[in-house]
């Protein structure tokens, strides 16, 4: 009897959140699915089971290209961010005195308190032909002429890496700081060199943290609209940009929905790939 009442109370507490998620997340998703199977005839929307939008992926070159561009950029960003963030997290965790660690972390996060939109725009100024980077390059004599950096894939990747290095530094740091120093000591005692210790002890232990961060980076990066829109110069379009084009120029909700579903499918595949390291029960 008591158990039953407890269960009911449990449902009572859980209900608001569950209902909210069901109504405002699951239902829109279902609507989006149905919309992706609809078709636009001039201005009228025709529901039904039309696969035109999905077929368009094979017919319209720019759609398929957008998927490849998104994947290329996202993978590049993830790899570069990890390579830059890991050493930074390491330095903060093991070289900065413990008293100062939180301050250093805070200083790392601080620049990201400007508006995301404005920060991307600021990168445009930094990478401009007359901007800081080019002035430094020509000033130091590394290049004869200013290099075109803004409005390129390089700019988009830089803008992304800027943000995700911060994110990954935090996640990897959290992981590193939990490592008992005994592991390292034991390895050293057994005669391992610093590199071997790292490769066979530290790295495997921090892999879950890296993979969680990498997955988060992948998901956030592939779904982002602002950074490629501001920094990419429209030289190539990512999937979110193509979705917004469909919305903004044509109000083509069916095609936009189909593209959104495709994006979700890619993310789900990524999740399955990362699933080994992502443990939801230890949320």
């Amino acid at each position: 009897m008591n158990a039953r009442r407890e269960t009911l109370r449990g449902w009572g507490f859980a209900a608001p959140a569950l209902i909210w998620t069901a109504l405002l997340f699951v239902v829109p998703f279902a609507v989006m699915g149905a919309m992706s199977l609809a078709v636009l005839d001039g201005r009228t929307l025709i529901w039904g089971l039309h696969f035109d939008n999905y077929a368009a992926l094979t017919e319209k070159a720019y759609l398929l290209r957008a998927i490849f561009v998104s994947l290329e950029i996202t993978v590049t960003v993830t790899v570069v961010s990890i390579l830059l963030a890991y050493p930074l997290a390491w330095v903060i965790a093991f070289h900065v005195p413990p008293r100062w660690q939180r301050l250093v972390l805070l200083l790392t996060i601080l620049p990201f308190w400007t508006s995301y939109v404005v920060r991307s725009y600021a990168w445009l100024l930094v990478l401009a032909r007359e901007g800081v980077v080019n002035t430094a390059l020509t000033g130091l004599g590394l290049t004869a002429e200013p290099v075109t950096l803004a409005s390129t894939r390089f700019a988009t990747v830089t803008g992304f890496v800027h943000f995700f290095v911060m994110l990954l530094t935090l996640t990897i740091y959290a992981n590193l700081i939990q490592l008992s120093p005994n592991y390292r000591r034991a390895a050293m005692d057994l005669g391992a060199s610093a590199f071997q210790t790292f490769r066979h002890v530290i790295l495997p232990l921090t892999l879950p943290g890296i993979m969680t961060g990498a997955f988060l980076t992948f998901v956030l990066c592939i779904g982002d609209y602002i950074t490629p829109q501001i920094l990419g110069g429209n030289n190539e379009l990512t999937v979110p940009q193509v979705i917004m084009v469909q919305l903004g120029r044509r109000a083509d909700f069916p095609l936009a929905s189909a593209l959104a579903i495709v994006l979700m499918a890619i993310v789900t595949l990524a999740y399955l790939g990362f699933a080994r390291w992502l443990r939801l029960d230890r949320v």
Binding site: A14, G131, H162
Partner: protein, 257 residues
């Protein structure tokens, strides 16, 4: 040299991290009309310009309102759900947890797009309310995750003790559980407010006239190149930094003592 390597790397990375903010703040004082080199002299006129811009000030207030209210709703819903799933045995708990976490892996663009279509179908007008609803959808999983992760066994014992001492359920939750989980609850609230404050795409899709600050900044960005944007960014930065410092002094210092 090798000993210096970690510090050199730290310095290099910090330069990288602070580069855009530095340029942003520098050119907000630009005297000329364009926020590009060369620096033509220093002036505060752009700050005066935006502080008297009614639309910007409105947008800023709107952002605060949406952030705080959506954060509050998300925390309450997240807390209740976490309490339910951590303290009661519910059938299909793993599935329910997965459902609650699911919005985390979906791009905000997709969440916004779905809600936009539903609002259109239902004939609901777009406004700050609809944007706020969207923000709760994306923040609820985070609040749930953070609070759920901090509900440990030691808290359970305290609750059991309270019940044994005759407290009813409401008292247990309000007087025992919530205070014990205060750090997690505050962290979740703070994070939600932060994410909502800076969130662009959902606010962009789901508002009509009353917009949030990121959307207004986006409009500015599309309307003309000017150091005004730099000034806005710098002010947002200043406000955020001050808030963080204040919280650091009030919340974390207190905990330490």
């Amino acid at each position: 040299m090798m000993r210096l390597l970690p510090w050199l790397y730290l310095a290099a990375m910090f330069t990288f991290i602070y580069l855009p903010v530095g340029v942003l703040v520098l050119f907000s004082f630009q005297d000329g009309g364009l926020p590009v080199p060369p620096v033509e002299g220093l002036s505060l006129r752009w700050y005066a310009d935006i502080l008297t811009d009614r639309r910007l000030v409105d947008a800023l207030t709107n952002s605060l309102i949406v952030a705080i209210s959506s954060g509050a709703v998300a925390v309450v819903l997240g807390f209740c759900a976490a309490y339910a799933l951590a303290r009661h045995v519910l059938p299909g708990a793993a599935l329910l947890r997965g459902l609650l976490i699911a919005p985390l892996t979906v791009s905000y663009l997709i969440v916004g797009l779905g809600l936009l279509m539903v609002m259109n179908r239902l004939g609901i007008g777009l406004s700050l309310w609809t944007a706020g609803i969207g923000h709760v959808v994306i923040n609820l999983p985070i609040c749930f995750a953070i609070i759920y992760a901090s509900m440990g066994a030691q808290h359970k014992n305290a609750e059991r003790a309270a019940r044994d001492l005759g407290a009813n359920e409401a008292q247990v939750v309000l007087l025992v559980t919530v205070p014990m989980l205060a750090p997690a609850i505050l962290a979740a609230f703070f994070l939600s407010v932060t994410l909502s404050w800076d969130e662009f795409i959902i606010a962009f899709l789901l508002t009509r006239f009353d917009v949030t600050l990121p959307v207004e900044i986006w409009n500015l960005l599309r309307s003309g190149l000017s150091p005004r944007l730099n000034a806005v960014g710098s002010i947002v930065f200043l406000v955020s930094v001050t808030t963080v410092l204040v919280l650091e002094l009030l919340v974390f210092r207190r905990r330490r003592s």
